[in-house]
């Protein structure tokens, strides 16, 4: 199945965060590679959205949406870094 890039996450996540998650830097809990989430491999044709590490393929984040709720997991990232608003 083909994947798209992490900037495809921008729409789903903009409702949840006050900052652009696609330019946030995260570290993969599996291989330790860090990079912007915009560079993640994103699988959208699924019961949910899955973002995978472009280096090792491990799952970084999942997003599941129903009509009235969103479930977000960032469990594949050790932490994310965002610049503070000026």
């Amino acid at each position: 199945m083909n994947h798209v890039d992490g900037n495809a996450l921008a729409g789903q996540l903009s409702d949840l965060f006050a900052f652009d998650l696609t330019t946030a830097v995260g570290r993969c809990i599996n291989c330790g590679t860090s990079g912007m989430l915009g560079a993640a491999m994103v699988y959208q044709a699924a019961p949910g959205t899955v973002a995978r590490c472009p280096h090792c393929g491990a799952v970084l984040a999942t997003i599941v949406e129903s009509d009235d709720r969103i479930w977000l997991s960032l469990a594949g990232l050790t932490a994310i870094e965002v610049p503070k608003p000026a």
Partner: protein
């Protein structure tokens, strides 16, 4: 939701009384995947049952198929709202795979090549409710549809029919698999619309 787009009616979506609530019948077979498609040669394929005590039984491709393949015609229901009715499948019943394996466990985690997991109560895999399937619609399963073999548990939402299945682990607790951890229902009965947490 009060905004309606002038002139938009969506794709032609069929209604059918055999559909569980919230489902639409489709004629094609959508491919959904959470990651890259594993490519497994049947010469390298194996299936493992691990009991709650760690005891393992392995089958090669030929050994598993030798347990006895049967024809199944069934409806399948995806949590993303599409259903296919009267689909022909061929596979080995889980009853035959688990026959003779002593266990006190109540639950099963299905494992797949590529790392996917999903949990199912053991009694819902027995008594003619589940198979390891090799063929669908008269042809061997395409890798993108879970080939060479996938789990088939049609009475639950189809995310439970793990693609690229390579084993079952018997467990005492109902541990959540991949989508169950991510927001989907532990059980997944389409007739009760058990979609999410």
């Amino acid at each position: 939701m009060s905004f309606i787009t002038r002139g938009f009616s969506g794709r032609n979506r069929e209604r059918d009384p055999r559909l569980p609530p919230g489902q639409t019948k489709v004629e094609d077979w959508p491919v959904l995947s959470a990651g890259p498609t594993p490519k497994i040669d049947t010469a390298d394929w194996s299936f493992t049952v691990t009991t709650e005590t760690g005891a393992q039984t392995h089958w090669s491709w030929d050994e598993l198929r030798a347990l006895g393949i049967e024809d199944i015609t069934t409806d399948i229901h995806c949590v993303t709202h599409w259903s296919k009715l009267e689909m022909p499948w061929r596979g080995v019943p889980i009853d035959k795979i688990l026959a003779g394996i002593p266990t006190k466990a109540k639950y099963v985690m299905a494992h797949s090549y590529g790392g996917y997991t999903t949990n199912v109560p053991l009694d819902e895999l027995l008594n003619g409710q589940a198979w390891v399937a090799f063929e669908a619609e008269g042809a061997p399963l395409d890798p993108e549809h879970g080939g060479p073999a996938r789990l088939l548990v049609p009475h639950l939402y189809f995310w439970k029919s793990a693609k690229w299945v390579n084993g079952l682990t018997l467990m005492d607790g109902n541990d959540p698999g991949f989508w169950e951890q991510a927001g989907y229902n532990l059980h997944g009965d389409p007739w009760k619309e058990e979609r999410y947490w």
